[in-house]
């Protein structure tokens, strides 16, 4: 059988890889992909804690469903913003989008 710790180590690793993508990549689309990996790691944790600790309460799965909805909303708005920025500035490199920097 698989102990809970395996899932926790796996999701911590997935979260760290996503965090690295968010911090290190220049391209805004790649940053959004890193955020998706981090949200997936969170979902694994929520479902693993539900299954191992409180299988009689369904809250962990319900919370994961909400995270799905938030991830879908986030990626739709984020990609719309990227398309809009690309039209105006002809670039999606995160360090070239500096209109609000002073």
């Amino acid at each position: 059988m698989i102990p809970l710790s395996w899932y926790l180590v796996f999701s911590a690793a997935l979260f760290s890889i996503g965090l690295y993508g968010v911090l290190a990549r220049k391209n805004a689309v790649a940053i959004l992909m890193g955020i998706e990996l981090m949200l997936n790691a969170v979902n694994i944790n929520l479902v693993a804690f539900w299954r191992y600790r409180t299988p009689q309460m369904i809250g962990g799965q319900a919370f994961a469903v909400i995270v799905f909805a938030v991830a879908a909303a986030e990626v739709a708005v984020g990609l719309a913003l990227i398309i809009s920025v690309y039209r105006r500035r002809d670039s999606v490199a995160a360090d070239e989008i500096d209109l609000m920097k002073w």
Binding site: I2, L19, V29, M33, N43, V65, A73, A80, I83
Partner: protein
Amino acid sequence: MTPVQILFIVVAAMTLGAALMVVSSRNLVHSALWLIVSLFGVAVFFALLQAGFLAVVQVVIYIGAIAILFIFVVMLTRKIAQDSGPRFNENWVWAIVVAVVVFAALVWILMGWQGWSTQLAPLGPAADPLRELGIALVSPNAYVLPFELASVLLLAALIGAVMVAWERK
């Protein structure tokens, strides 16, 4: 080693390797395709954790909608498919340090927790997580309010995405 453990290790290695390819691939279309592999591995974990509904939703929404949306956006903004300059910014060494420190800190904190090595208890014969989830999401005593709020959020995101991406003539 039981077969389930071997399956876990194989799927975990596949998912983490695909995730590494997502953050390091130079071509964004390749990144998006590796993202699909990684998301599919997560769906396998949902199935292993007996959350069948979430495994299906993972495939339908994440792979069927979000990953395809990524591919469409990369295609619509042609010039960004290949990064012209370096694909990492100048702080990438610090990003590795931060990621490794976060991973080590998470594992270290969790190892001190008494539930660290909880073993899997089988679900009771009467337990039906799918039915419970369905009832919990629409029951006034449980999660109907967050559920409806999520639908309002999705509607707002839909309108916002259309407004932001609208090309004004």
